[in-house]
Symmetry: C3
């Protein structure tokens, strides 16, 4: 039998056994599934970061992988919990826009169902009681129609204002800041203008910035722009934190000029 | 062959490869076992938190799961290391009370053995040298009598003072504080008085507190009481840390009045 | 078919999905491999700590385990990426000395190849694009010659100055500091002089230090020397952080006298 893969992406952290408990639930229903953590360090209820992490990840998993996303500020409200399939993957998540970016990459879902809330579910841990079991059943071969009623409404979309891309001016939002303080901007390599060429020099907050290829191109402590490993424009600072050097936070708007 | 599950719960953190090394030892002896981390962020040697995390978790794993708990302030003393079975699960842990709460939930052990300390074991890492191998052998089908001599003494018990539950007054200890600063009290939903009803209002430190169902019932920054996903009374503060708002730590006694 | 084990050791942290993405890549190529995290909390680009963690770990894994190490300050330069085998294990890592200590323990490699950099690899994430796929193929039975060209140059070595061991004087470098603040010195039990006997008393910074067996031998807050679980001399402080008590950092030189 094929081995299926199930990824987990949450804002639960690793201090409590919440993630472990979801894995226990999953292994009850699908004992041979391969579990992979994407990250559980999404800042509490930050749907935008989770959406970005998921987008970064989906291309690197085997076809048929089930992605379980539990970043759910609406737990306890009547927001829907959905399960859906694309050509190459399946997802279980609350309908809060956390899938927007991944679905833009993989293509629209072929089928979507809403997961029912079973009697006796806790009011605060639908990840354990509803979404993890649904993901486990998908990973072990259940069809979407086994899991819930077809969901016809459009999915909730979530996004920052679009990037502005002109020959001598770029505007984009800070999408995420990684462990090293590198600032990831919501501007993809595919959408980049020709002017954002290697070796070009841009201005940020009145300071010049080289568009480079590797951190080693600038002196320790100096900043540069480069394409990150996930194909987005990154503002980095060699051997230092770019977020602190430039006082930037998630959601901030950055303007680069020439 | 059935796939068995083995969980790990320690205070080792994730900075050192201690947990990885225990997994290596386990996979040497039981290559197909499914490993699940409960948490490795138990504050160093805090048996009470580990006992609580284990109690929260055991119901959500498949029957026959082996739970390995290495929170062991007595390592290097002559405290016993035990392996035991209940109807539905098996445990390997030092005899320091870390199993008290889980065994109260699952029922008393059917059989208990003491693990011998092999020649050449390190003095400081019995998790790797003694307990992980024993857990691996259990997961791969060994019987308890293969692992050690029957242990007839009562297990070490560990607990906070009992909750006091009166119609207009509740007293309970702070059992744990989660990643989000939610304060978990050692008072279970089953033991709760009728007066702790949804919508009732209580006093804590002279401030009123609603007994609610979801965080969304109060304004951002305001606190409420609710039943947590693990069935214990929780003091939470919407989009803020309740532990800081109320200056509470693990072991503190909380009094709620009407 | 035998189940193979693949360990991962990086400085990626767990906040971003980088580790998860490498696992996705691995499971695409080798769906049944067992993945074990050693640690991902190596301080950014600290090759010495990673080398030590790897040395601590390799003896505790099944024969044939593949160890993937991505601590790679030279990413984007022309440093080589290598795959190699010893009698009992295989490794994939950049050629920066991170394998020095593990290979000293296990014996020199039998065969080494250099991994080619495929067209289209990112400039900043060779762990995902080059090293993880190579490790996966090794774990699923590929031979080294399938992965790259034979590498004849000597491997880059990395090490601290040797320990000085005299009957009444020891000098060694701080190799690592663990989560609990215990200070691990680069002096192994095998190389220790007879004078470093249990019960002997040494001087550090003018203070006496007992060579003991367990933390319980000294009062809370007091320090002692002992052999750590990994067979290295450790400076510990009962229920406190020895690194802070003695103002020590990684790379510092420590002198003990009698």
């Amino acid at each position: 039998m094929a081995v299926s893969v199930l990824t987990l992406l949450t804002d639960f952290g690793l201090e409590d056994p919440y993630v472990g408990v979801m894995k226990g639930q999953i292994l009850k229903l699908c004992p041979r599934v391969r579990l992979v953590d994407l990250t559980h360090a999404v800042p509490p209820q930050q749907v935008s970061i989770a959406a970005f992490h998921l987008e970064q990840s989906v291309d690197y998993f085997p076809d048929g992988t089930v992605h379980l996303v539990v970043v759910d500020p609406g737990v306890g409200t009547d927001r829907a919990m959905l399960a859906l399939r694309t050509q190459t993957a399946a997802f279980v998540a609350p309908d809060n826009g956390v899938l927007t970016r991944a679905l833009r990459l993989l293509g629209p879902p072929l089928e979507v169902v809403r997961l029912p809330l079973p009697q006796g579910s806790s009011a605060t841990f639908h990840g354990r009681d509803v979404m993890a079991p649904a993901a486990a059943r998908l990973a072990c071969g259940a069809s979407l129609s086994d899991l819930g009623e077809r969901w016809e409404a459009p999915l909730t979309e979530w996004d920052f204002p679009s990037a502005v891309v002109a020959p001598d001016r770029l505007q984009a939002s800070v999408l995420a800041i990684d462990t090293f303080g590198n600032v990831c901007l919501d501007l993809s390599q595919q959408s980049a203008p020709a002017t954002l060429a290697l070796g070009s020099v841009w201005q940020l907050q009145g300071q010049p910035l080289l568009m480079g290829r590797t951190y080693a191109q600038v002196a320790p402590g100096a900043s540069l722009l480069l394409w990150s490993s996930h194909g987005l424009l990154e503002l980095a600072c060699r051997e230092a934190r770019a977020d602190q050097a430039w006082s930037l936070r998630v959601g901030d708007r950055v303007e680069l000029t020439r």
